[in-house]
């Protein structure tokens, strides 16, 4: 393998990820063909469903909102050298924080006070839930991957317990809380744009989309434009060097995970305050794991994460539309594709690097550039 020359930078940044994504799509296409569907037909329906109407676009952006938070959460932890598989649980706690506050205070406070409090509660609960595994990794040496997995189950148990025993709306059959008072409803895009005279189709898309964009911008500024972010990235890329430079790795791990957990907690704002407007069982629905795929595809960079979130938002929305057209197709195909993307772009990211490199260097222009 040492025979293959190094990839040029443009190929490493752009060509290789695209080749890997292509592999994932190819294998997914083979699966679609195996179940007797025409992959191109499915893809056409999917793109139409995701982008073919204003309503479709609106749904796509709603899914993307959750994935932006999830992807950013995984990425910030990643820059601190930690793999956060616990975004799922942190999001659960985030929703719980926002929900508890809403059930407690929403009938007493106006929306202008209530909504910022709910956002703060979601971030704080998510951060606190991530801080425990971070502490155990930083100061007790327990592996964060395992601890965050365990914390996902603990979070779910806690949510089930509270919903079944404490919060369940009296008289209702479903395991869910009572609906929040109106001051705890985060406006949907349709509601927010109505006073401005803009007609926006009715969809779950709500103003937390803007929060997600702001979060992406803040993460960029923090990681690449501040000293604090530099310290965090230093620990992520070389713990020894960081320590030698006087940066405390344990500190930075705590910070990375707290920010990561707060970002994951914001998923609760989108789903609980913006959409369901009550606490339910499965409002996170695997988004924490989609965040891993988003962060890998977006290469842990906010711009990449925005693009990858848009892609996954389109896949989830388009996938749902395809199901209406083709009954034998399920949206779980999108979950499968998500797994293939994590496999090819994440675990096997460099499998295709040597052949790609040989291919590039076989082209005379690049071969000459290498000799020069």
């Amino acid at each position: 393998m040492s025979a293959a020359p190094a990839l040029p930078r443009w190929a490493d940044v752009a060509a290789l990820p695209l080749v890997n994504l292509g592999m994932a799509l190819l294998v997914a296409g083979i699966v679609v063909a195996l179940i007797g569907q025409n992959p191109l037909h499915v893809l056409t329906l999917l793109v139409q469903g995701a982008f073919g109407s204003a309503r479709g676009v609106s749904y796509t952006l709603y899914y993307a909102t959750t994935f932006i938070f999830a992807g950013l959460a995984v990425a910030v932890a990643g820059h601190g050298g930690l793999f956060n598989i616990g975004a799922e649980g942190q999001a659960t706690l985030g929703g719980l924080g926002a929900g508890l506050l809403a059930l407690w205070l929403a009938d007493k406070l106006p929306a202008a006070v209530m909504l910022p409090l709910m956002i703060a509660a979601a971030a704080a609960f998510g951060a606190a839930w991530a801080a425990v595994p971070a502490y155990l990794q930083a100061y007790r040496g327990s592996h964060i991957v395992i601890t965050t997995i365990m914390f996902n189950f603990l979070a779910y148990s806690l949510l089930v317990y509270l919903l079944v025993n404490v919060l369940k709306a009296p008289g209702g059959m479903a395991v869910e809380s009572a609906e929040f008072a109106p001051s705890a409803h985060l406006p949907t895009m349709a509601e927010a744009f109505k006073p401005l005279g803009i007609e926006w189709p009715s969809s779950p898309l709500n103003v937390s989309f803007f929060l997600a964009l702001a979060a992406a911008a803040l993460v960029y500024v923090y990681l690449w434009r501040t000293r604090a972010g530099y310290r965090l990235r230093t620990v992520g890329s070389n713990v020894g060097a960081a320590e030698y430079a006087g940066i405390k790795p344990a500190h930075q791990m705590m910070i990375a995970m707290a920010i990561s957990g707060a970002l994951a907690g914001m998923i609760g704002v989108n789903e609980v305050a913006g959409v369901s407007r009550r606490l339910l069982l499965d409002f996170v629905g695997g988004a924490g794991f989609t965040g891993i795929a988003v962060a890998i595809m977006g290469r842990n960079h906010p711009v990449g994460i925005l693009l990858a979130s848009l892609l996954f938002g389109a896949l989830f929305q388009g996938g749902a539309e395809v199901t209406f057209e083709i009954p034998a197709f399920t949206r779980d195909m999108v979950v499968t594709l998500q797994g293939f993307i994590i496999l090819f772009s994440g675990a096997m990211a460099y499998v295709l690097a040597p052949p790609l490199s040989r291919l590039i260097h076989a082209i005379p222009v690049f071969a000459k550039a290498r000799q020069a």
Binding site: R140, L158, Q338, G339, L343, A347, M348, V351
Partner: protein
């Protein structure tokens, strides 16, 4: 406590623990060889689906078991190709396999059987029957019903604990396996292929996960349903860690977790003297909590294999 209750508690504990035991042994093989395996859940799930689909279509227990193990081994090899051959991230690869299995089993199930991801029920003749159905009548509730009225996979799981212990601690292969998980360079220097050992370990891992998945369909439920493993793979991983990567303590952890699950179901709505009602969720969450406490060093010592999760780069 009366005899019948004790008998059902023992029986139920064993039934719940069996897939955990098989899966924990699978994890032990992989992790002792230095390969992190977060994909236990996915492998068990795809094996359950394969057993359900093949069992319903072919009407043969052997084919169902074979397909379950085959599907699971295939995923193990993908993990090996990504992580052993190409030194990819083992955690990422394991998560990818879990997500692929969660999606693919539903996609194929819906397309093949049109029952919303369920497979048709497996014929009773294909399912694993108790080895000695009259045990309860002959030997009473505890010895008969609790211990001797199970199907073959329950006993196979217990035998396999002993077999894996013997393999890992009493054979030349086991010595090499442990060595490759602690110090792969030393093993390579001794002229043994690290890659070969890890692939063998992963193949055994696939077989064991396959049995665990097949158990869910051939012994527990009658058919496969979407996400029917419901976190058992992660719980087996927790049991493996709780058992500090050793077969017999891992068996103990699986039995403990199985017992907690049994108790949680039985205590639903029951008021205990002095304590009051214990929430089911608290008991069900206990395995995860205990594992966190153990990993943090509050109970016992964390003794993961030294080279666990580190890709091995062969020297030239």
């Amino acid at each position: 406590m009366d005899e019948i209750l004790a008998g059902t508690l023992i029986a139920s504990t064993l039934r719940v623990a069996t897939p955990l035991i098989l899966c924990a042994l699978a994890g032990l093989m992989a992790e002792r060889s230095g390969v992190v395996d977060l994909g236990l859940e996915g492998k068990m799930l795809i094996a359950a689906f394969a057993a359900g689909a093949a069992g319903a279509v072919s009407g043969s227990t052997a084919i169902a078991l074979g397909c379950a193990c085959g599907a699971s081994i295939l995923l193990s090899w993908v993990h090996g190709y990504a992580c052993v051959t190409h030194r990819g991230d083992q955690v990422v690869s394991g998560m990818a396999l879990n997500i692929i299995a969660a999606g693919l089993t539903v996609v194929l199930g819906v397309a093949w059987f049109q029952q919303g991801g369920q497979t048709p029920p497996v014929n009773d003749a294909v399912r694993l029957a108790p080895l000695w159905p009259g045990a309860t009548d002959s030997l009473g509730a505890i010895l008969g019903g609790g211990l001797l009225a199970h199907n073959i996979l329950v006993y196979l799981a217990l035998v396999l604990v002993a077999a894996v212990w013997w393999l890992v601690y009493r054979t030349r292969f086991g010595l090499r396996l442990r060595a490759v998980g602690e110090n792969p360079h030393m093993v390579e220097a001794a002229g043994v292929s690290v890659r070969r050992l890890r692939y063998i370990a992963l193949t055994a891992n696939g077989v064991l996960c396959g049995l665990a998945g097949a158990y869910l369909v051939l012994a527990q439920n009658a058919s496969f349903g979407p996400n029917m493993t419901a976190g058992r793979g992660y719980m087996a991983l927790a049991a493996l860690i709780f058992g500090q990567w050793r077969p017999v303590p891992a068996l103990g952890a699986c039995l403990l977790f199985g017992f907690l699950d049994t108790v949680a179901v039985r205590l639903q709505g029951v008021k205990l003297p002095h304590v009051g009602e214990i929430p089911v969720q608290a008991i069900q969450a206990l395995p995860y909590l205990l594992t966190v406490l153990l990993l943090a060093g509050f109970i016992g010592r964390n003794v993961a294999p030294q080279a666990l999760g580190r890709p091995y780069v062969k020297e030239h």
